[in-house]
Symmetry: D2
Subunit: 382 residues, 4 copies
Amino acid sequence: MAKKQLRVGMIGYGFMGRAHSNAYRQVGQFFPSDHQVVLKAACARDPDKARAFADQWGYESVETDWRKLVERPDIDAVDICTPNNLHKEIALAAAANGKAILCEKPLAMNAAEGREMVAAVEKAGVPNMVWYNYRRIPAVTLAKRIVDEGRLGKVFHYRAKFLQDWTIKAELPQGGQGLWRLDVAAAGSGVSGDLLAHCIDTSIWLNGRLESVCAMTETFVKERMHNLTGKVEKVGIDDACTFIGRYENGSLANFESTRYARGHKALYTFEINGEDMSLFWDLHDLHRLQIFDYKDPDARGRGWKSVHVTDGDHPYMGNWWVPGLSIGYDASFTHQVADFIKGLETGKPEGPTFRDALETQSVLDAILDSAKSQKWVNVAKG
Amino acid sequence: MAKKQLRVGMIGYGFMGRAHSNAYRQVGQFFPSDHQVVLKAACARDPDKARAFADQWGYESVETDWRKLVERPDIDAVDICTPNNLHKEIALAAAANGKAILCEKPLAMNAAEGREMVAAVEKAGVPNMVWYNYRRIPAVTLAKRIVDEGRLGKVFHYRAKFLQDWTIKAELPQGGQGLWRLDVAAAGSGVSGDLLAHCIDTSIWLNGRLESVCAMTETFVKERMHNLTGKVEKVGIDDACTFIGRYENGSLANFESTRYARGHKALYTFEINGEDMSLFWDLHDLHRLQIFDYKDPDARGRGWKSVHVTDGDHPYMGNWWVPGLSIGYDASFTHQVADFIKGLETGKPEGPTFRDALETQSVLDAILDSAKSQKWVNVAKG
Amino acid sequence: MAKKQLRVGMIGYGFMGRAHSNAYRQVGQFFPSDHQVVLKAACARDPDKARAFADQWGYESVETDWRKLVERPDIDAVDICTPNNLHKEIALAAAANGKAILCEKPLAMNAAEGREMVAAVEKAGVPNMVWYNYRRIPAVTLAKRIVDEGRLGKVFHYRAKFLQDWTIKAELPQGGQGLWRLDVAAAGSGVSGDLLAHCIDTSIWLNGRLESVCAMTETFVKERMHNLTGKVEKVGIDDACTFIGRYENGSLANFESTRYARGHKALYTFEINGEDMSLFWDLHDLHRLQIFDYKDPDARGRGWKSVHVTDGDHPYMGNWWVPGLSIGYDASFTHQVADFIKGLETGKPEGPTFRDALETQSVLDAILDSAKSQKWVNVAKG
Amino acid sequence: MAKKQLRVGMIGYGFMGRAHSNAYRQVGQFFPSDHQVVLKAACARDPDKARAFADQWGYESVETDWRKLVERPDIDAVDICTPNNLHKEIALAAAANGKAILCEKPLAMNAAEGREMVAAVEKAGVPNMVWYNYRRIPAVTLAKRIVDEGRLGKVFHYRAKFLQDWTIKAELPQGGQGLWRLDVAAAGSGVSGDLLAHCIDTSIWLNGRLESVCAMTETFVKERMHNLTGKVEKVGIDDACTFIGRYENGSLANFESTRYARGHKALYTFEINGEDMSLFWDLHDLHRLQIFDYKDPDARGRGWKSVHVTDGDHPYMGNWWVPGLSIGYDASFTHQVADFIKGLETGKPEGPTFRDALETQSVLDAILDSAKSQKWVNVAKG
């Protein structure tokens, strides 16, 4: 039986462009479906870079203008891997052209942009998804299943951190290839949109709506050379952002992210404490979920279990190797493509959709407002 | 050569009364000095309890009225192990009688009380100390030495948590023997004075003055039977308290404590991130200090070192066993007595003195003010 | 510039057939070279299975007789993924046809077969390699580099374990698809050839020649239903095998493997203790290398460093993601293909070649002899 | 009610003399009973050292000849803390004088001596015990309880290691104060009697009789200056000893000990793998027991539990502090004294008695025989 094609047009060629492309290439072997992904076109402003990227990853053609790409009739889905400041414009155009859209996170520069994007895709009725890939690390998905089964009981606390240390060096410039995350014009914010966004997305998925927050941000290095202008310019992003808050379910939030935590490369951790069970996960050892089960009938033997999430009955893992053999970070993207296709086939979209991701964007807005005003801020709904 | 006697009068007989008494009995064997501790008198309102405690721990006599005890001429030092609401009154009387004072933490119900106590001991010129014992866990003391050597470089972050889970059960009563920590009248506050106080004391010791804080508290179980009245009463303490803040040195603070973190018995952890080095410690594995050294000449081999702080050249450890063999929680009190005696012998008081502990009390006041007002609050000086 | 093709013929379609196929598909994107791998033909006795496998992994054609495949002029390299009892015959035929050979481990049923295979590939002058993939887990490769730099000083101890628990259930049959590892006729041995073989290969790579061994084996479940005959038959494999031994460099060996260690899925660990440095690695957390550096100038701060081997200057990792983001077990195969191609391009074969793998086979022979005779046995040379 | 006195005479004043003395001083406060330990006399050949030790630990009197001490009518129990070569002679004399005996491990220089000692105490009918203190680390005792409840099912494997690194330095002399463990005349053997003895004692307690062993020993530093003679002499002890073996219950043994494992101070670990449950313990984190429970009803959530053995319902812990607060290595001795006294009061001796310890001695003999003969050796019974 011939498979249905899903012809992808990729905009961007950086770290995420590679991660998504790998997922498109892997999904067919590990998560076979009725769809076949076809890498139709890769788009970058620089034709040489576009060509090199297309060659390495197997895209059939190249474009140097994203507007052309989103209009091509032989493209079914547009993947937006550009800096954040282009997400909205591209998404609106892609939606207008009836394309499915897979947009890198965060959804937008702010919630106002996000609302426009949600309206656009919903009006156009096109499938849409945002690459909050950590939901699909098997250990994180297992956490979600456990939460959904109600095994935690009443939840008291949710805490998350995303700690890095790669921008401590003051000589690091801002802006340009690989460094646009330090440029507020391109990124919109610093660690909040880059790192906290992941933490918030997972937390909403696992623990529901965040109602109110009180945040603090800091920019440790105040000025950096700008790669595009060649001048030393004021740094506009947040180097660190920490906040406390309250969830709708009555639990308390404590979040922190920074690029100045010496010794941590990408230490995204979360912990959720319920009356009956607690869960902990850590990106540095992403194949493990830590579970404390208060209902363990052997009270004397209660302890945190380190579950090596590599068994056939663990989420996604039946499609990979054998128990004990772990998969990489990159597999989370493969899972996301597999689920996106599943959504196409079942007609029930798999999240996070643009609408789901808008909720994270509203929390981010509240955080930045709070840090600026030094006040508690309620998170806007919808 | 005859040793000089340090005749101790102990007020209280609970968990801390036992921990301090053990330290007095152990110090002579492990940290010999020119002083000999003599357990002179134990004081409790109930004569049977006073007698039983005295017998078990070897106190020579008993009192049932602390006023009598602090007036006895054969007492050199008074140890205050009562609930917090009695600290001030006893300390003032002891100072007036010229006694050295070792006061259980937190110093007082609030900073106002604390200031009176500081004034009293300083006016009387009596040696004084507060039992923030975690400073003297060898791994924590090692952290202090490393910080003092300037090896961390500029500090960016300090985070600490103290997580417990013992009060989740709603049936647990408040007040009375062993449960006064749930009674606001006796304790003054909940986890903030009980748990955060430790975190704050260590943090000030390691990282200097906290300037401003923004806090949130929660009382998950709103009413509990009161053991003394037999009635269900409103719970006045904080079950959980989390705050963010800023240090005078420019670093950011993130603190959290709770008695509702299922799976954690007494998980006091702190981490400090400097430009050149980071340190992490955890009470559950108290004999280990985790060190990340960015100046490790083997860049390719950088990682968090788990240092088993049990060598002869580690703080205090030369007086115990051999490398690899750990000491218990209780040893921190023995070290504190040893240092208190050292202070007596050198004439240079070892901290934390009442004055040192007042700083923590001021932070606690600011935290509770902030939680109530839902605003950022500056920490009062002095 | 057109790339040179490396046209692969794959024999076998099980777990390893999948792992190797994935590596062939991945290598071009992550480790670009002058060669392009072409998946030319997949071979299995059952035509439906051959076809399904070829479709899923993208092989251009199928064969049902491996003899045909090794004779095809459009095949450059033969990949042997069959049960062990077919390795020799296929390898000899492939060598006779001038094909490069990538053979799954262990090389052969025993050293005698292995010697024939070495002679055949060396006579034919064909590139050859054995899939001892764990050498190319980045943390293991980093260990090798550290050892080669002489940083360990004199080595005293090498210990390794490979613990699993998947065959405890007595109802598990032996033989047939997915279970041939329990059938002595197909596998030659049990955990020794399957698991210890990996441990021995790595150890020889890191620590040199093993001179003598004394081993013990056990078969806990003595009889199992045979899937092919339908009868309960005696189990001929070793369920567990442990041995002690001596290396040529004077260090002591302690090895253990089993499929009866409840709680361990695939816990391959090794540790090497040198005068100046010790190293430890663990397959369950494969992205970490533990290093103890006795020459750490801060004697007081010596401890085991947990190195998250995901930096750009770590072996292979510069070609993947960013620091902190780990790769999976499967990447070790991709690295092996990349190195095999590098060997083709430089003319300097990358190990383990058949000759390298024969050394492991000789140790395995000595182990099984020792277990049978209950005596110390010297490992044959060459 | 007046307590019955247990008047102790201590022979030896080294590391173990201190550890035992501390236990005698602590037991009354933490494990009150009908007995009161009285530190009656301390014995050492050098009168100044005897006096200093007695003063520091509170012994009422001193002796310089152990023969006098064992004859004193005011001594109820003799504690033998001398080097191993004096154990037998002292024990025989103490038994002849009707004294209870607490003998440091290993029981004797060899099983022949041990048999004489067992005969002597059994003939004299005196209470006797050997200080294999690790049985009474709460986590180890918890392991024993779990094993005794039959929760492990059929046992397949028992493995233990005791790794140190303190004798790597070739300049370290042998013999004399603090270094007699390197002198074969005083110690009888090296790591086997010192370290493996602990591992074997625990293993017999948990897993029953070891039937046969095959061992290998090594002396890495062949000659060392002797502290007593001032000459460089051949080293007679084993620096490392590793063995494999079989238990009566059909499980396999793998043991290793060394003083040349760089990075390990006193890493005594054991693991036992049963059909239904596995247990792991590690002296470096002695307050934790790792449990893998295959019968965990949540198959998907199976993992190794890290149990922080500090709860009131954990062995011995109800008498110490509160959950989460750990005790030290030294507490194991206090527990042993408490149990010894319990044995006196109940009339049912608490092990390990001399007879229990003889079994370990027989295994040690078999190990050394095997290492010498390079053959498998059966362990003698009785």
